[in-house]
C-alpha cells in the first residue's frame, strides 16, 4: 500500500496534504491595517513544516486559499499564517473571530533551503509588499541555526511594513523602503536590497518573496553580485498538491504548489516567471509587473 510519496525534494504525506485538520482559531492579531495573523494548534503541521511551505486554508462554506506559514511553535503545536484582506475569501477570513473553526491542510510544497554552514556569510532576506510571512518564519529558523541575517523590507507606506519589529528583533541589519518615503528610503525592497548588497557583497544567499515584478527585478540585479537567489512564487492554485496542473510554469511541468513555491532562480529560466500567470479559469495572461501587488 502506497502511503507516502517521494518527490524530488523528499517525502510528502499524502494524508496531511490532502485532508484538512479542523480546529478553532486560538488567536487573531492585527499586524497592519490590511493583514491579520491567525494562530491555530495543529501539532502534525507544526512538527513537519519548514519555512516557505504553505497551507491550504479552508474557510468552511466559503472557499479554500493558499497561505504561507508565517510561524510555528513546537510547544502547543502552534501554526500561524498572515493574510492580507484582498477579496472574498480573505475578507471572510478577516471577519472571523477567535474560536471560529478553520481547516488547514499541509505543509505543502517545498520551501527555502538554508546553507548548511553558517560561515559562508550572512543571509539576505528581501520582503516586498505582503511577502514577509514566509521570510519572517525563515529568519526565525535561520537565526536559531546561527546564521547572521540581514533584511530588506519594503511596503507602500509605513503602516504597511509587515513584521517590521519581528525582523528588527532577529536581524543584524534591517533596511526599510517605502513607496511614499514615509519610512526608510523612498523606493522598493529591491532598492533596500541594493543598498545592502553594495555595502556588503559577501552574502551566502538571498531569499525573496513579494510581488513577482519585484522578484524579477531583484533577479536581474543579483547577477551582478552574484549570490544564489531563492524566490517564493505565487500562482493561482486549485489543488495545491500537484495534480490539476493549474500552477505549472514551464515545459518540464514544474508546479508552483509542489516543486515550489520556492525556486532557485536558475530553475526559472524558460518559465513563465516574470512574464505570465493564470487566472481562475486557467487562462494564460501577461503578468502585470507594473502593479506592485501582482497576485497579492
Amino acid at each position: 500500500m502506497i502511503q507516502e510519496r517521494k518527490t524530488k525534494k523528499g517525502p510528502i504525506s499524502l494524508k496531511h496534504g490532502l485532508r484538512h485538520i479542523v480546529g478553532p482559531i486560538l488567536q487573531i492579531r492585527e499586524e497592519t491595517p490590511r493583514t491579520k495573523t491567525f494562530t491555530l494548534s495543529v501539532p502534525d503541521i507544526a512538527r513537519t513544516a519548514s519555512p516557505g511551505q504553505f497551507l491550504m486554508v479552508w474557510i468552511p462554506g466559503i472557499d479554500e486559499i493558499p497561505m504561507s506559514i508565517s510561524a510555528t511553535k513546537n510547544s502547543g503545536g502552534i501554526v500561524e499564517f498572515t493574510a492580507a484582506n484582498v477579496g472574498e475569501a480573505t475578507s471572510a477570513l478577516h471577519a472571523m473571530k477567535e474560536g471560529d473553526q478553520l481547516g488547514l491542510r499541509g505543509p505543502l510544497g517545498h520551501g527555502f533551503t538554508l546553507p548548511r554552514s553558517v560561515d559562508k556569510g550572512p543571509l539576505l532576506f528581501v520582503a516586498g509588499g505582503c511577502g514577509s510571512p514566509p521570510l519572517a518564519y525563515a529568519t526565525d529558523i535561520a537565526v536559531r541555526k546561527g546564521h547572521e541575517v540581514h533584511v530588506a523590507l519594503g511596503a507602500s507606506s509605513r503602516p504597511e511594513l509587515l513584521f517590521r519589529h519581528r525582523f528588527e528583533e532577529k536581524a543584524q541589519k534591517v533596511i526599510i523602503a517605502t513607496d511614499d518615503g514615509s519610512d526608510g528610503i523612498q523606493g522598493t525592497s529591491v532598492d533596500a536590497a541594493t543598498f545592502l548588497l553594495d555595502i556588503d557583497t559577501k552574502y551566502a544567499a538571498c531569499f525573496a518573496c513579494g510581488p513577482e515584478g519585484m522578484l524579477f527585478h531583484l533577479a536581474e540585479l543579483i547577477v551582478k553580485y552574484p549570490i544564489p537567489l531563492q524566490v517564493s512564487l505565487e500562482r493561482y492554485m486549485k489543488c495545491g498538491v500537484g495534480l490539476c496542473g493549474h500552477c505549472i510554469i514551464n515545459d518540464q511541468g514544474a508546479r508552483v504548489c509542489l516543486e515550489g513555491p520556492v525556486f532557485n532562480i536558475e530553475s526559472l529560466k524558460d518559465s513563465d516567471f516574470g512574464r505570465l500567470k493564470r487566472d481562475s479559469t486557467g487562462k494564460h495572461l501577461p503578468l502585470d509587473t507594473t502593479d506592485g501587488s501582482s497576485t497579492r
Binding site: 510519496r5 490532502l18 484538512h20 481547516g103 500537484g242 490539476c244 493549474h246 515545459d251 493564470r278
Partner: protein, 320 residues
C-alpha cells in the same frame, strides 16, 4: 504515432485505438496536469502514450469554490474542480504548444448543447489533436452527468460532432456509474452514431462531510470519487461493456497505479487506459514506472504483444 525521444521504443507495448496509434497503452487522463501545455508535455516526456487535455468548453468557466480536492481513507480522492477552463479560444495555444513538440494530444470537449459540443470539437480538431474525447460525464456538473446517462442525447451529441470533425476519431467518456445496462446502452448508441472508442469511467458521484464543522468537505458540496477505491467498479464496467460486444475499442480509467493495474484493465476488455489520480499517488513519473512494469509482465509471461491481453480474462463460469 509520434515517438518520444526521451523514451526508448518497445514495439510490444504499441497499441491502436482505431486509427490512433500509441507508443504504449497509458494515457494521461483529462483534468490532471493538463490545464497547462507544460503538464501535457511533461507527462508525455515521462512516457505517456498520449495525453488528454483539460475538458474545455466554448466559454470560460471559473469552476467551483474550494476545497476542490480532498483525500479520503485508503488513497481515495474526491474532487469538485467544476471544470475550470478558459474557453476553447484561450486554451488553443496550450494545445498547439504541445502538438508542436510532437505530443500526441487528445482534446476533451464539453458543451451545453450538441451544437456547442460540435463547435468546440471542431476547434480542437483544427488545433491538431489526434482525437476528441467528449466529456458527458462530470458528476459535479449535473447537466453533464445526466446527459451521459441518456443514450438518445449522447447519440445526438455524437452525430453533430462527427459531422464537424472531418474524420478525426471521436471518443466518448462515460459517467462513473454502476448502472451497467444503461452504460452499455449509451455506448451502443454512441457507437451507432459514429464514435471510435468508449472511455470508462469518469469519477463516481460522492459526498464527504466534515463532522467538526458539519459542512461538506468540498466547496461544491458534492464531488467525484477517483483513485484505487473505484478501480474494481470501473474494471467491472469495462468488462460489461466488452461482453456486450461493442466493435469499437474500450479505454479503461479509474484507480490505476501500477503496470499490473493496466494489465487488469486489458484483461477485462480494454485496449488502452487513462491515468489520473495515480499522478498524485505515484508522482508524475508514474508513466515511466508503469511502462517498465508492463514490459516486465510481458517478458515474464512471454507475451509478444500487449494487445493480445485484451479481453483475455478467464471465465470462471459461475452463473449468479
Amino acid at each position: 504515432m509520434t515517438s518520444n525521444s526521451e523514451v526508448e521504443t518497445d514495439p510490444r507495448l504499441q497499441v491502436k485505438i482505431g486509427s490512433v496509434e500509441l507508443e504504449n497503452p497509458t494515457i494521461l487522463a483529462s483534468g490532471v496536469l493538463g490545464v497547462a501545455s507544460g503538464g501535457l508535455i511533461s507527462a508525455w516526456k515521462d512516457g505517456a502514450g498520449a495525453v488528454v487535455t483539460k475538458t474545455v468548453g466554448l466559454k470560460p468557466r471559473v469552476g467551483h469554490p474550494g476545497p476542490r480536492i480532498v483525500g479520503l481513507h485508503g488513497d481515495s480522492l474526491m474532487n469538485a474542480m467544476g471544470i475550470p477552463n478558459p474557453g476553447i479560444g484561450e486554451y488553443l495555444p496550450e494545445i498547439k504548444a504541445a502538438v508542436k513538440q510532437g505530443v500526441p494530444v487528445i482534446g476533451s470537449a464539453l458543451g451545453s448543447t450538441p451544437k456547442e459540443f460540435a463547435t468546440v470539437a471542431s476547434k480542437l480538431v483544427r488545433s491538431g489533436v489526434l482525437a476528441v474525447e467528449l466529456n458527458v460525464s462530470c458528476p459535479h456538473v449535473d447537466s453533464l452527468y445526466l446527459l451521459g446517462m441518456d443514450p438518445d442525447s449522447v447519440a445526438d451529441v455524437v452525430t453533430q460532432v462527427v459531422g464537424k470533425t472531418k474524420g478525426v476519431p471521436i471518443w466518448i467518456k462515460l459517467p462513473g456509474s454502476t448502472d451497467y445496462p444503461r452504460l452499455v446502452q449509451v455506448a451502443q448508441a454512441a457507437e451507432s452514431a459514429g464514435v471510435a472508442a468508449i472511455v470508462a469511467l469518469n469519477t463516481l458521484p460522492a459526498l464527504a462531510i466534515d463532522t467538526e464543522t458539519q459542512t461538506p468537505l468540498l466547496g461544491a458540496g458534492i464531488g467525484g470519487l477517483s483513485g484505487p477505491a473505484i478501480k474494481p467498479i470501473a474494471v467491472r464496467a469495462v468488462s460489461e461493456l466488452y461482453k456486450a460486444g461493442l466493435k469499437i475499442p474500450i479505454i479503461g480509467v479509474g484507480g490505476i497505479l501500477t503496470g499490473d493495474d493496466v494489465i487488469e484493465y486489458l484483461l477485462a476488455g480494454a485496449t488502452a487506459v487513462e491515468i489520473g489520480t495515480g499522478v498524485l499517488i505515484r508522482e508524475s513519473t508514474i508513466f515511466s514506472k508503469t511502462r517498465k512494469e508492463m514490459a516486465d509482465y510481458l517478458t515474464r509471461h512471454e507475451i509478444q504483444h500487449i494487445s493480445e491481453l485484451t479481453g483475455c480474462m478467464k471465465d470462471v463460469g459461475v452463473n449468479p
